[in-house]
């Protein structure tokens, strides 16, 4: 009904607390109130699934005492008639930092050249790493913030889980209401959650300097906290570890902020028996199946990418298809969670301007999210996750009186929030619209001489109305829910105005004013008739084509993941990389992902035939030294970081995977960088473009680890190095020390295990980890000594090559591979005796002083000395031409063509212990082959088809089709962006998409020496993705 309803009495409610805290003295006369209200005639949305018409909600002392359809209204209660209005539970933000002190950022910007900060700057009895802030108690540092509370209430929130967003472990979160009352009463659950992230935040400590370092730090801290429970004498009091253990029973929330990061976080949880609630990044829809497998509940931000200004074609080309598609599809993220049956909450946390929150929820709804799910994501789901659904999240007797009074159905575009009640306290949002004033009124203006003139006053809303006296008069109108101001000219042409002011009276207004000639008037306006309803404007939303989700999501992705077919390659020149040598006019049958037959005149009815006439088929290329497809490369903060693992942070979306397929590469050994002597654990992958990180991994391969020597590990280009070692002499001692510690550790474990099993009656062996601290760093070194993990060692000059072999021999193992090894030719005999493989560049030199003696004949000499020689890339571009790099050994040193090709096929397979699976064309091995247009050692040869496990991952013909598709799809979205701009839509300046190409870190420009900073940037990148 369009009429002014009786005005409410509670005009000026100061937010005095309903009941005083008894321990707090009162500096006045006690003023206890019950806060007893009955909200009548409302449509009550009790929860997402239950809506009651014409219902009553009764609250008292901040609690709901009754809610239902046929409830008697107690006469002691103040009645608030909510006819035509909806009452819905207010929202819960599970990812807030409301009322938290801002983390103090370090003043100095990151500077790679600065000395490392090897220890924590936190004073007190805390743990070793500054980024572990498990001891932060959210409730202790919380202080209500009226401004921020209002901004959240204005978008419908009543309750938030707040925590300090700083560090890798962030301590506890506390659930508070957004009432402007003393904190003692707003805290709903003091310790409600524990928080984690991959981002070290304000910590200035060097470690961790990479994503994989952050992962390792988390894993080690779980172990340390467990071990610390036994009160180890060496540790004294460690408040960080104590706090860590104390908060493990709370809901564990991990800020991951990106689809792959979500999965990485979940994996840490899996290892330690924890199911994190994961704060996502908004791009999860791109891999929703994988996300579903985490079984986690998610917290989703609604910070959709803003439309970019791409009118300038030169700018537009620098925005990737990935970013363009994400702009279009980001709104579908919540809907894709709903469709996949994954629990999720919505948060305004990452919005630049929280005012856009409800608009963005509506966009998600337009993109397929159900309203029911949207409301649940803002009420029941977060409340349930936090174990506070008994207190908030629905409108039920016994719960906190926190709800919204709104004008219509929630999430309707026209619906406005009138009031946001928090803990029984009323906060106005758009209360001036409480009464629907959209109607026509009789406006009667009475002069002092009692002559009255009547107009029609047609009110649209609180800011707009027109006075009609035959003509429509230019009218200024404003109504704030209480007071009204109207001014208009007496007739259309008049320049003077009649000015009226007044207040609400029954179904209209009453007041005084001044006539056009300045004389005093009295006036009133009474309801005449409802406003004419305008016809609905035609539905503007026509269905527009949306980008497709491909695997990977960016350019050159698959529409759906491929599977193996039987393939028969006929009549090719086959370079077997095996005893069989080079076979002319030969057929190769690939079946079920394996090489099924090699011979002449083969046939298979089910096979797709590829004519190899005039072409060359080889085993596909294996790159022993690569840095693609990973989110970070160097954990250079310490000299020994064997605890970090490249496999923890693979990046399956790296376009370099596809580019290298185009050069015939199918297997890459992804190494940690060379920033430190004992680097991280490596990851062997197959370039299965489109797979997730697990899908990339080469299954069943021996694990490896990267070591490095020389200039990089002694931080030669850093003018102020303070990280041991600073000389090659020191590097040797880093190795000695690390393995000695590992030996002692291994002995301690053995001893601990032995004592337990003999002294206890129960035969069940007790874990040695009760007495020995499990050390992930030393675990890896013990594996090396036990020949369960193998070293690939970045090395250049003969001194260090020799001493590294001697250290290894002292501890009873061998260096599996010397990589780079540019002075290998000087000690080829020693390496042969030691039993190492070697992997080198064909012709790199003079890029730094330790390669001044590098020679292009290195590979040839080492090969002639009987070493197993590989040619590797260490370079995302050169990896596409490894066949040509191998061919240079023919030029430099006269290696035979077959031997040269072996240096990028079977030789690296041997060095990586996978020669039983791949590396040559032999029946039973993986169907990893490349069809070349020409002799594979020729610069004119192009990989036409690159096949992994019998699947054609790169096809030069298909590539041409994809190019034109990419171009068409780019154009479609760019046109859409441009037309949005032309239509007056807001745009932000274009942002060039960044390609991150990581390198080993040892052959950079002057003063441009390492990738630690890049990995830092990558973390940033992920944090804002």
């Amino acid at each position: 009904m369009k009429r002014i309803l009786s005005f409410l009495a509670i005009l000026f409610m100061l937010h005095e607390q309903i009941s005083a805290q008894q321990t707090f003295p009162v500096n006045a006369v006690a003023d206890e109130r019950l806060g007893y209200y009955a909200f009548t005639n409302a449509t009550v949305v009790k929860d997402a699934k239950t809506t009651l018409q014409n219902a009553v909600v009764i609250i008292k002392k901040g609690k709901i005492i009754a809610a239902g359809s046929n409830i008697p209204v107690p006469k002691e209660a103040v009645i608030i008639d909510c006819k035509g209005k909806y009452i819905v539970p207010s929202f819960i933000d599970i990812y807030s930092d409301y009322g938290m002190p801002a983390p103090q950022r370090s003043a100095a910007p990151f500077n790679y050249s600065a000395p490392a900060q090897l220890t924590s700057n936190t004073k007190g009895a805390y743990g070793w790493n500054e980024a572990i802030k498990a001891d932060v108690n959210g409730a202790s540092v919380f202080a209500a913030d009226a401004t921020k509370a209002k901004s959240l209430r204005d978008i419908g929130f009543g309750t938030v889980l707040t925590h300090q967003k700083d560090g890798i472990a962030r301590g506890t979160g506390t659930v508070v209401s957004l009432a402007d009352i003393k904190e003692n009463l707003t805290i709903i659950k003091e310790k409600a959650s524990a928080h984690y992230s991959f981002n070290k935040g304000t910590s200035t400590q060097s470690y961790p300097g990479s994503l994989m370092g952050a992962i390792a730090l988390l894993r080690q801290t779980y172990l340390d906290a467990q071990w610390y429970k036994s009160n180890p004498a060496t540790e004294g009091v460690n408040l960080s570890l104590k706090a860590w253990s104390d908060i493990q029973n709370l809901p564990q929330i991990f800020e991951a902020n990106d689809k792959w990061q979500d999965i990485r976080a979940d994996r840490i949880g899996d290892e330690f028996g924890i199911q994190y609630i994961i704060k996502g990044g908004g791009n999860e829809y791109q891999r929703i199946q994988e996300i579903a497998k985490t079984k986690a509940a998610y917290i989703l931000p609604l910070n959709y990418p803003e439309a970019m200004d791409v009118e300038d074609p030169d700018d537009a080309k620098r925005v990737s298809l990935n970013d363009l598609k994400h702009w279009e599809l980001a709104v579908t993220n919540p809907a894709s969670f709903e469709k996949a049956g994954i629990d999720f909450c919505l948060t305004p946390a990452d919005l630049k301007d929280t005012k856009s929150f409800l608009t963005n929820v509506r966009k998600a709804i337009e993109a397929g999210l159900s309203k029911t799910k949207a409301l649940e994501a803002l009420t029941k789901t977060p409340a349930t996750l936090l174990g506070i659904y008994d207190k908030v999240g629905s409108i039920e007797a016994g719960k906190t009186a926190s709800f919204l009074i709104i004008s219509g159905a929630l999430f309707d575009e026209k619906t406005t929030i009138y009031q946001n009640w928090v803990q029984g306290e009323r906060y106005d949002v758009n209360n001036e619209n409480w009464n629907d004033i959209n109607a026509v009124y009789n406006l009667s203006v009475q002069d002092t001489d009692n002559t009255a003139k009547t107009y029609a006053l047609s009110v649209k809303n609180s800011k707009s109305a027109t006075v009609i006296d035959g003509d429509t008069l230019a009218t200024k109108f404003s109504f704030n829910g209480k007071m009204v101001n109207i001014s208009f000219p007496p007739d259309k042409k008049s320049k003077s105005t009649i000015r009226l002011t007044g207040t609400v009276s029954n179904d209209g207004w009453i007041g005084n004013g001044s006539n056009a000639n300045g004389t005093q008037v009295l006036w009133n306006a009474t309801f005449a008739k409802t406003a004419e309803s305008k016809p609905d404007t035609a539905k503007k939303n026509t269905v527009k084509p949306l980008a497709k989700i491909t695997y990977p999501f960016g350019s050159y992705g698959w529409d759906s993941l491929p599977s193996a077919h039987t393939i028969l390659i006929k009549n090719a020149t086959v370079w077997t990389s095996d005893e069989a040598g080079k076979l002319e006019n030969t057929d190769v049958l690939l079946k079920a992902g394996k090489i099924a037959q090699v011979g002449k005149n083969l046939s298979d009815a089910s096979a797709t035939i590829i004519d190899g006439t005039g072409k060359h088929l080889t085993a596909s290329i294996i790159d022993e030294h690569s840095h693609i497809a990973t989110a970070s490369i160097n954990e250079g903060a310490q000299s020994v970081t064997s605890e970090v693992r490249i496999g923890d942070n693979l990046n399956p979306d790296d376009i370099n995977i596809y580019r290298q397929l185009s050069g015939g590469v199918t297997t890459s050994h992804i190494l940690h960088g060379s920033a430190n002597t004992i680097g991280g654990q490596t990851q062997l992958i197959k370039l299965r473009w489109g797979a997730d990180d697990e899908g990339l991994k080469f299954k069943g391969a021996d694990p490896f680890i990267k070591f490095a020597l020389g200039e990089n590990v002694k931080r030669t280009t850093s003018p102020a190095n303070n990280r041991f070692p600073d000389t090659r002499m020191g590097v040797e001692q880093v190795l000695m020390d690390a393995f000695q510690r590992a030996k002692d550790y291994e002995n301690a474990i053995a001893k601990a295990a032995a004592i337990k099993s003999t002294s206890k009656k129960s035969m069940a062996s007790v874990s040695p980890w009760n007495t020995v601290r499990r050390d992930l760093e030393l675990d890896a070194l013990v594996e090396i000594m036990n020949k369960k993990r193998f070293i690939t060692c970045h090395s250049y000059v003969q001194t260090e090559i020799t001493y590294t072999m001697r250290v290894a021999e002292k501890f009873g193992f061998r260096i599996n591979t010397f990589t780079h090894i540019l002075e290998g030719y000087k000690v080829a005999d020693k390496m042969k005796a030691h039993g190492a493989n070697v992997s080198t560049f064909s012709d790199w030199w003079a890029y730094k002083i330790e390669v001044a003696d590098a020679i292009a004949y290195n590979a040839a000499i080492m090969q002639k000395m009987g070493l197993n020689v590989c040619i590797n890339s260490d370079d995302a571009e050169m990896a596409r031409r490894l066949n040509q790099e191998a061919a240079k050994t023919v030029k430099y040193g006269g290696v035979s063509e077959i031997e040269a090709l072996n240096m990028v096929t079977i030789n690296p397979a041997k060095a990586l212990h996978i020669n039983d699976k791949t590396g040559s064309i032999k029946v039973g091995k993986d169907a990893d082959v490349v069809l070349w247009s020409d002799n594979p050692l020729s610069i004119y040869a192009k990989a036409e088809k690159t096949i992994i496990d019998g699947i054609i991952y790169f096809d030069r013909e298909k590539d041409l089709v994809m190019r034109s598709n990419i171009s068409a799809e780019r154009n479609r979205i760019i046109q859409k962006l441009v037309s949005e701009k032309k239509a007056g839509g807001p745009v932000v300046p274009f942002k060039p998409s960044v390609q991150i190409v990581l390198g080993c870190g040892e052959h950079q420009q002057d003063g441009d020496s390492n990738h630690d900073d890049e990995t830092g940037g990558q973390l940033e990148e992920n944090a804002t993705n």
Binding site: S662, Y825, D829, K848, P992, D1013
Partner: protein, 437 residues
């Protein structure tokens, strides 16, 4: 009486100098007759001549043909039967001799001076003929190089050197052939690698800043132009004097630029000052190739062996950029400026261009005659033509393809130069140690 026939087995060529680099000598001047007989001659201007002999006299090519008689007497004869004969390759832009070690050794750096307006800085005076890198280039057929300084706006002048000399004055082939400018980027700078910039630049700011710097350049040249008009200089300005050759086109203006907007601004320099402009870098030049042709702007491309500029770009875009320039008729040269391999793969960059759209002879021109034209030395070298310097390379096979690119002889101005270098010597040294052959 002495008819010398040199062995074509390249291994023996450097075996004579097996101890140290200091034993690799520049070859003394040779003024007599010299014949390279019966080879497959790639002239550098598109022609391939089978069974052809080149006659050299007093350091210059005197005759090329199939029926050239080789006289008895005191002449040198090199049998190139079945081999490929090419013009000496030209490295068109590099810091050879100015920077021995690419990174980490400040003392080896003489390629970048302080300041923004350094037209008077001259690379030639610091070109170190004793650089160990130089001899590795001759072994791969590179006989001439354009050595240029680097800098933030006007870096200085480059000079062309021949790679077999005792000192820079001997090495000089064309002095101060051009002025090098590095254009500012039109793209917003993200946080630097060392210092995280709190706020990224907006695209508008970046463009404005770039245009301001270009304005600064233009006003420099406008004043320099006026200065050249002065009958007498009351105040001598070395910087203005250094760019005199640009106005009479005796010098080229080398503008180092990759972005389309930078190159459009470069075209403006042609229009406004009438300079002969060469773009160095030009990774995006394929996008505006016809425009470059229209304004007679030449291009020295950076290395072909590069990743595409964006993830959406064709995976082989850098490989096929030369073909796009060729198609549009742009005069271009190829380069190898990889810090990790130090210029030695010039011919393989051309090989890649040939695999992706150029003919082999076009690719060869891009590292010989085109480069000579761009550097202003095509009157003396760049092709195997009568009257030009005898800068000649002999290879076992196709010089553009690494599996056959084995240089057996190289001649600079008619001198047979040594192909030995530090790397061949270390090779010999350790082959000897291990008793390998």
């Amino acid at each position: 009486m002495k008819k010398l026939t040199y062995s074509i087995l390249f291994m023996f060529l450097f075996a004579i100098a097996a101890t140290a680099q200091d034993d690799v000598y520049p070859t003394p001047e040779y003024k007599g007759l010299l014949f390279i007989t019966n080879g497959i001659v790639h002239t550098g201007n598109g022609q391939v001549l089978e069974h052809t002999t080149i006659q050299v006299n007093n350091g210059r090519i005197e005759k090329i043909g199939t029926n050239i008689p080789v006289p008895q007497g005191d002449v040198k004869v090199y049998d190139a039967k079945g081999k490929h004969v090419y013009p000496g390759l030209i490295l068109p832009d590099c810091d050879l001799g100015l920077r021995e070690i690419a990174s980490g050794v400040r003392g080896s750096n003489d390629y970048r001076e302080l300041g923004e307006l350094n037209p008077n800085i001259r690379s030639i005076v610091s070109y170190n003929t004793d650089s160990k890198i130089i001899n590795t280039l001759k072994a791969n057929g590179i006989l001439l190089a354009n050595v240029s300084p680097q800098g933030s706006l006007i870096a200085g002048s480059s000079s062309v050197v021949q790679l077999d000399a005792w000192n820079w004055e001997d090495a000089a082939y064309k002095i101060d052939n051009g002025i090098h400018i590095t254009f500012p980027s039109f793209l917003p700078q993200r946080g630097g690698r060392f210092f995280m910039v709190a706020q990224s630049q907006t695209p508008d700011d970046a463009e404005k800043q770039a245009l301001q710097k270009i304005e600064k350049l233009k006003s420099f040249f406008a004043e320099a132009k006026s200065y050249q008009q002065e009958a007498e200089h009351a105040q001598t300005n070395l910087k203005f004097a250094a760019v005199k050759g640009l106005f009479d086109k005796s010098q080229k203006l080398f503008i180092h630029a990759n972005q389309v907007k930078q190159m459009l601004a470069a075209i403006d320099f042609v229009k406004e000052f009438g300079f002969s402009v060469v773009i160095v870098g030009g990774s995006e030049s394929w996008q505006i190739a016809p425009l470059l042709k229209q304004h007679s702007v030449a291009v020295i491309l950076g290395t072909q062996h590069e990743l595409p500029a964006t993830e959406d770009e064709d995976v082989d875009q850098p490989y096929k950029t030369p073909a796009a320039l060729q198609k549009a008729g742009v005069l271009f040269a190829l380069n190898d400026n990889m810090d990790n391999t130090r210029f030695r793969n010039l011919s393989f960059n051309a090989g890649t261009a040939a695999a992706y759209g150029l003919t082999k002879e076009e690719a060869l021109s891009a590292i010989t005659l085109n480069a000579a034209k761009i550097l202003g030395i095509d009157d003396k070298t760049g092709s195997l033509e009568v009257g030009k310097d005898a800068n000649i390379v002999v290879s076992e096979g196709d010089i553009l393809d690494m599996k056959s690119s084995i240089v057996t002889h190289a001649f600079i101005q008619g001198r047979l130069v040594s192909l030995a270098n530090k790397q061949t010597q270390l090779y010999e040294r350790y082959m000897g140690k291990y008793g390998l052959k």
